[in-house]
């Protein structure tokens, strides 16, 4: 088995909630990420899925040290990087790159595409000497399927999907070891998406890259991931291999998520049972006691309000159903997965 390149231990990120304009009084905290642990192995792709607002982007930003962790550790090759700053942080960042969710605001509107993609070379000149940069940028444009002639254009002159590819090209520039990709293909049409995914897989094979791949599209996550983690309200609720999660999900939230996948073939949609979740998503500032999913769970019992279920292999389960699941009553249920 491959060794872990990132080890995330009990990571917490709370955003303070304040009241009043002048005297900002803290009245609580948005518990965006609340005690998450997992490993990212060398050369693997870990998919992360979960409801909007459950903390996926925050998790990514904390891993990248773009947001400071409230507590917990992020070990990169055994060293805690969550408290680094300055030069030490810069050195680590070369090896861990991020592709952002929002292709609009993450690209500086006043820089040309050539400057945007070449920017990492300014910070890390050792990767591409000055004379080679234009070439290097054009190669990257070509790699992500953009016309190298567009090098002098500005971001607003591109469509959404084209901008997304600019972000990917920039993420690849330094040949990092780890890429944290936050919805890297969600703005792309399925054919361009297929090209980008094929490209990511090819680069992974070539350079033994590790990916953390955050996405809403469960089919694409399954396609690209070796393992998948499911988040709900700041917690990891289930994690396992793609087969374990998609074919043998044991957490009710995962089951609901899989059953909600829209199926492209209108004919195949008939006869599917959708688990419609009751109730609203609770506020991350005031999450339910015990299991955070209990307010919407059809299986919830007394115990769920009292005890926080730990992310561990439930003792009663065996075979492919025996993988980490944070539910007191974890069991398999037949759901038509993302077909």
């Amino acid at each position: 088995m491959a060794e872990p390149i990132l080890e995330v231990r009990d990571l917490v990120k709370h955003f303070p909630l304040t009241q009043g304009v002048l005297l900002k009084k803290q009245i609580g905290a948005v518990k965006a990420v609340d005690g998450v642990s997992f490993d990212l192995l060398r050369g693997e792709t870990l998919g992360i899925v979960g409801e909007s607002g459950c903390g996926k982007s925050t998790l990514a930003k904390v891993l990248m040290n773009l947001e400071r962790a409230t507590s917990g550790q992020v070990l990169y090759k055994g060293e805690d990087i969550s408290r680094l700053s300055g030069r030490a942080l810069k050195a680590v960042r070369r090896n861990i790159q991020m592709v952002f969710q929002d292709p609009y605001t993450s690209l500086n509107p006043r820089m040309t595409v050539g400057d945007i993609i070449g920017e990492p070379f300014e910070i890390h000149p050792e990767v591409a000497p000055k004379g080679d940069r234009r070439r290097a940028v054009q190669d990257l444009l070509d790699v992500v399927g953009l016309n190298p002639e567009y090098i002098n254009r500005y971001p607003h002159q591109f469509s959404g999907g084209q901008r997304q590819r600019i972000g990917i090209a920039r993420g690849l520039a330094l040949r990092p070891e780890v890429i944290i990709a936050d919805e890297p293909v969600s703005a792309l049409d399925v054919s361009v998406q297929a090209q980008v995914v094929n490209l990511l897989e090819k680069l992974q094979d070539e350079f033994e890259l590790s990916y953390m791949f955050i996405a809403h599209d469960l089919s694409i996550v399954r396609h690209i991931s070796d393992r998948v983690g499911v988040m709900y309200l700041g917690k990891m609720v289930e994690i396992g291999t793609d087969t374990q999660i998609y074919d043998h999900p044991t957490h009710p939230y995962t089951q609901a998520l899989l059953s909600a996948v829209p199926v492209p073939d209108p004919e195949a949609r008939e006869g599917r049972e959708r688990i419609i979740l009751q109730g609203d998503v609770p506020s991350p500032a005031n999450p339910p006691s015990g299991c955070r999913f209990r307010t919407r769970c059809w299986k919830a019992q007394e115990k769920c309000a009292q005890e926080v279920p730990l992310l561990a292999v439930p003792q009663v389960l065996s075979g492919p159903a025996a993988h980490d699941s944070a539910c007191h009553f974890a069991e398999e249920k037949d759901v038509v997965g993302a077909a």
Partner: protein, 342 residues
């Protein structure tokens, strides 16, 4: 390059009286330093009250630019509408003054943007921006407008709306910002909504809720909806008909079920084949080969010809018109019959 005069076959138009919106032979170009980029090259589509038209197509094919032209918010210069009509409730919008168009925007037609964060003002609270709609258009008091804002946030399922109404856009997750944009578009109950990838940032459960919400409001207010999306699953769930775009043209139009079952254009076929299937895990995904066309130099004949597995000589010289495939569908391919059978 031979140009064929294009008969505008619009199989969907005029089925149930006059459509709410009808785009006719729309052309948009961007005059840039490097040359003229022809982003929209003769788009025809229509949508009736209560109907949902889904617009699919390649990234960069002009879906958003067409929508911007309809809304009257094209980035101009460098963008110019050079030809065509946009008939909305009996009037050609392209003939109206900017002032008249501004009155229509927001109240009669609204757009949900692809880029949720950059269309919200970062220095104003979300509640203020939602409330502004009511203060400006309906002269509501600050207090009533705020109550309305909270109600709207609830409607699009922002948890703890009351506590979060004074938060700034960056404090919300991507999906929540998207829902706030949706709330803003729905605020004044317009007749037409253009939703440009409204659910790309949303997970499937919230996506289902948001689409249900849109559908519910659409029924309630009998709105027309143009849904621009890459998500073929969402399309199958909500759309009545589909228009597929490539290089600034509609290359295929059809009722939803028929298009999925039997595409009549090679581009549509390639698109459907690119959907990841679970039984192909570990294999490379199918992708249409080649690069999207350079809009400064669109290939002669059919713009798809350099990437098309069906292409023959005629494809490199003659622009295919939108051939009627049945009463209710059309394909702009010289070999639509072969494609349909293939």
């Amino acid at each position: 390059m031979t140009t064929t005069t294009e008969k505008s076959v619009n199989p969907q138009a005029g089925k149930a009286g006059t459509p709410l919106l009808e785009v006719r032979d729309l052309h948009v170009e961007f005059r840039t330093r490097d040359g003229v980029a022809k982003a929209v090259n003769g788009v025809n589509y229509s949508v009736s009250a209560g109907e949902t038209l889904a617009v699919l197509g390649e990234s960069g094919s002009g879906k958003s630019v067409t929508a911007q032209a309809i809304m009257g918010i094209l980035d101009s210069p460098p963008g110019f509408v050079t030809q065509g009509q946009i008939n909305f409730q009996g009037r050609d919008l392209l003939k109206l003054s900017e002032k008249e168009r501004r009155r229509i925007r927001g109240a009669k037609m609204a757009m949900i943007f692809q880029d949720a964060l950059s269309s919200l003002n970062p220095v104003l609270t979300v509640g203020y921006q939602l409330g502004e709609m009511f203060r400006v258009h309906q002269g509501m008091s600050r207090k009533d407008a705020k109550a309305k804002a909270i109600e709207l946030m609830d409607r699009v399922r922002i948890p703890a709306a009351r506590e979060r109404v004074n938060d700034y856009p960056h404090q919300f997750s991507g999906g929540m910002r998207q829902r706030i944009m949706i709330a803003m578009a729905l605020a004044l109950e317009p007749d037409l909504i253009i939703a440009d990838e409204p659910t790309t940032a949303l997970d499937v459960t919230v996506q289902a809720q948001v689409m249900d919400l849109l559908a519910e409001l659409q029924r309630e207010y009998h709105m027309g909806l143009i849904l621009i999306t890459h998500d073929l699953g969402v399309v199958a769930d909500v759309a009545d008909k589909i228009a597929v775009m490539y290089a600034g043209r509609i290359v295929e139009t059809a009722p939803v079920h028929e298009l999925y079952k039997q595409p009549a254009h090679p581009y549509t076929r390639g698109l459907l084949d690119s959907i990841p299937r679970l039984d192909q895990k570990g294999q490379e995904l199918y992708a249409i080969k080649g690069l999207p066309p350079n809009l400064l130099r669109i290939p002669s004949g059919c713009a798809f010809n350099p990437r098309c597995p069906m292409a023959q000589d005629v494809c490199r010289t003659d622009i295919p018109v939108l051939h009627p495939v049945t009463d209710s569908r059309g394909s702009a391919c010289h070999f639509w019959k072969e494609t349909l059978d293939g």
